[in-house]
């Protein structure tokens, strides 16, 4: 039993981090604020080359051969850097395609050639993904998508983007384009009527991204508390600021530990995998929203400006908290689980 990354996993994290810092810089990405797509196809291809999209997939399926644990570490970094883009739909879409035998589609996604958007029910109960795709969906990153991954509970499907009529809406997160799309009785090009494993992985990856937000905001506040001086001293010397930073670090440690545990529980097929996936998903969402809100406060007026990245975490945590379920729905699912053995 061990919950710290191995040296090999640390290396993956370092590589991911350096690319995100260099090529997904938020000040540069701000140029795309409000655009209907944030995907730069050449950058996307670079991520594909680095194997990010098939990181946790078996080599036999065309993946890199690592596991969900490494995939979760990747998504934590994506969250920590507030990196926009359809990473989740891409990773899950490639997996769905590969597992259902649609190897050419999987290949196109893994190579970065096909861009995948994510669709989930706009209101509960008003949409289906199987046997055909129908209903009204909230679609994320629809702008330049070629395919759409539709997830409704534990059923999932891939359809062509052209099969959906989508109406963009003003998104609270200007780097996460959201549209409301309708589909009428479309047969998926790949799909599962029931694949609880895919939904479970999705929970872990969303949780990992949220844990990354909780972590980065804790670090951003701590750094600012060391740098910013008022009353002749770094503001981190003031107990009110210091203690808020400490609480943020505690939340980050809690979210990261639980997400890692959850990723391993799913990976190792433990009987309490669902328990831990719902626990990680709800806790990470709550802590990400809390930490990002407090992070703005810790930065004072600076944190309220558009130029600073603090608001990115506020809106990103709000969007991801509502991606594939809500805090409330995951808490309910968690409460429905039996006592872990």
């Amino acid at each position: 039993m061990d919950l710290l990354p191995t040296p090999e996993q640390e290396e993956i994290v370092t590589t991911v981090r350096s690319l995100l810092e260099r090529d997904f810089n938020l000040n540069t990405l701000a140029e795309r604020d409000g655009a209907d797509s944030v995907v730069d196809r050449s950058l996307w291809a670079k991520c594909a080359e680095l194997g990010w999209f098939g990181l946790g997939m078996d080599e036999s399926l065309g993946g890199v051969g690592y596991t969900l644990a490494e995939e979760a570490l990747l998504f934590t970094e994506i969250g920590a850097h507030a990196t926009p883009g359809p990473f989740l739909a891409t990773v899950l879409g490639a997996r769905l395609a590969a597992l259902s035998g649609a190897h050419d589609i999987a290949g196109a996604i893994l190579s970065g050639e096909s861009i995948v958007a994510l669709a989930e029910p706009h209101t509960p109960g008003a949409a289906s993904a199987s046997p055909t795709v129908s209903g009204t969906f909230r679609v994320t990153d629809h702008g330049s998508a070629d395919l759409i991954l539709v997830m409704v509970g534990t059923s999932s499907a891939l359809i062509n983007a052209s099969d959906m009529v989508a109406e963009p809406m003003a998104s609270i997160d200007l780097l996460v384009p959201i549209a409301v799309g309708t589909v009428s009785d479309v047969s998926p090009i790949a799909g599962f009527e029931e694949n609880p494993g895919l939904a479970l992985r999705a929970n872990i990856l969303v949780a990992a991204e949220l844990a990354g937000i909780a972590t980065a905001t804790a670090e951003q506040s701590t750094q600012y508390a060391k740098d910013r001086e008022q009353f002749g001293t770094p503001i981190g010397a003031f107990q009110a600021v210091k203690h808020r930073c400490a609480d943020m670090a505690v939340r980050a440690e809690a979210a990261n530990s639980l997400v890692r545990y959850g990723s391993l529980a799913v990976l190792e097929g433990l009987t309490d995998a669902n328990f831990h996936a719902h626990a990680a998903r709800s806790l990470a969402a709550t802590y990400a929203v809390t930490n990002s809100q407090i992070n703005v406060q810790n930065h004072g007026g600076i944190g309220f400006t558009w130029e600073h990245t603090a608001h990115r975490y506020v809106t990103r945590s709000r969007v991801r908290s509502q991606t594939l379920g809500t805090v409330q729905s995951h808490l309910q699912s968690l409460l429905d689980q039996p006592t872990p053995s």
Partner: protein
């Protein structure tokens, strides 16, 4: 202790209600630029003509000379009239609630008779020049320097978080006039004409997409010494008086409006589907209790405001207790909009403007300013702890 309105106050309430019925604009407020300025000033002029400007200001400077309770009654009637804009969200805010009150208390006769009527009549837009990039919570460490040259101050430096600077005529400006004195002793509060040569203004983009904030740069800006309010090098004291108004009654209108917001939110929870996707949001036990809790808290806020007015009526000036209300209000305001986001569910991902009917995400983003502006909640807690409770400084 009583809740009764005097006959005069009761009559005032009815007059206000009736006037608002006939005179409240129906058009939306333009959100930015000169159009916004014109709209705000026109409304101020309408208020003045109707007798609703400077309700608790002295009669000799164009005010009505009435009580803080009447001022509150006016805010309440305004909020109940279902206005198409909020009261404090106006570029006339700083003049009415910061600059004006400060001059009433600290200004000389010339300053009073020149500036006060212009504020009430909607002839001047004021802005505040207090904070600097290096002087936020530690306001007294401000660096913008002013050198006396003949009968003028020559100002060089930078201010930030200056609301409405880009449309303002006049600024309440804090400058360092004595760099050698202890930091609280070398500051001067001065009125700056925003059209003076040497001033450059840049708008600041904010997380709520509101563009009222500006940075202001001063390059040898010349201000007559007669514009100093409260005495040279005595500006810290004058500024504390400005801030005590801000922490005392300046947000009364917001506080009254928040009660209306909570009622709107309760209505929203009745018509929207709740977190389970089946029942109305208000049928959810947690949402119901949180709504009732904020309902009790806005009721408490109103009672605290009346307590504050009662206290001021006895002492004559706003005391540090204003920070109690300001602190409670700022955090409650945030809780209300955080709850709103839970209630509107997936619509919480839809960006809305900051102002208007049935909009929640814009105000949520704006709500972050409520615990930062005019002294962060940390500063307000220090004031409550040290100046109200008498706890020792660190």
């Amino acid at each position: 202790m009583n809740l009764e309105l005097s006959a005069e106050e009761q009559e005032f309430r009815e007059e206000a209600r009736s006037w608002l019925r006939d005179n409240l604009p129906t058009e939306e407020r333009p959100p930015e630029g000169q159009e916004m300025r014109e709209f705000d000033l026109a409304w101020q002029r309408t208020l003045f003509d109707g007798g609703w400007a400077g309700i608790n200001w002295p009669v000799e400077y164009g005010g009505r000379g009435l009580t803080d309770i009447q001022q509150m009654i006016w805010y309440e009637e305004f909020a109940k009239a279902d206005p198409p804009f909020t009261l404090n969200n106006s570029c006339t805010f700083v003049g009415n609630l910061h600059g004006g009150p400060t001059i009433i208390v600290n200004g000389d006769e010339t300053q009073k008779s020149h500036y006060l009527p212009r504020i009430l009549k909607g002839e001047d837009v004021w802005c505040q020049g207090f904070s600097e990039p290096g002087a936020g919570s530690d306001l007294a460490s401000l660096n913008t320097k002013a050198v006396i040259d003949g009968d003028e101050l020559v100002v060089t430096g930078q201010k930030t978080w200056t609301s409405y600077a880009h449309v303002a005529d006049v600024q309440e400006l804090l400058v360092r006039t004595d760099p050698d004195a202890p930091k609280h002793k070398g500051i001067t509060w001065v009125i700056c004409d925003m059209r003076t040569p040497g001033i450059e203004i840049r708008e600041i983009q904010t997380m709520s997409h509101v563009t009222d904030f500006c940075e202001v740069f001063y390059d040898e800006v010349r201000i007559p010494l007669t514009n100093v309010v409260g005495g040279l090098n005595n500006g810290w004291r004058t500024a504390m008086s400005t801030l005590s108004f801000e922490r005392g009654t300046a947000f009364m209108a917001d506080q009254v409006e928040l009660a209306a917001t909570v009622e709107n939110l309760i209505e929203e929870a009745r018509v929207r589907t709740g977190p389970d996707g089946r029942r109305p949001a208000i049928a959810d036990d947690e949402i119901a209790r949180r709504l009732a809790t904020v309902r009790s808290e806005v009721a408490a806020l109103r009672a605290m405001t009346i307590t504050g007015i009662s206290r001021n009526a006895r002492t004559g000036v706003p005391g540090p207790e204003g920070s109690i209300v300001r602190l409670f209000h700022g955090e409650l305001h945030q809780r209300v909009y955080q709850l709103a986001l839970e209630i509107i569910g997936s619509d919480s991902l839809r960006l809305t403007p900051v102002d208007g009917d049935g909009v929640w995400t814009g105000p949520y983003l704006q709500s972050f300013a409520y615990t930062i502006g005019g002294g962060t909640t940390d500063i307000q807690r220090n004031i409550v702890g040290e100046r109200v409770l008498g706890l020792p400084r660190a």
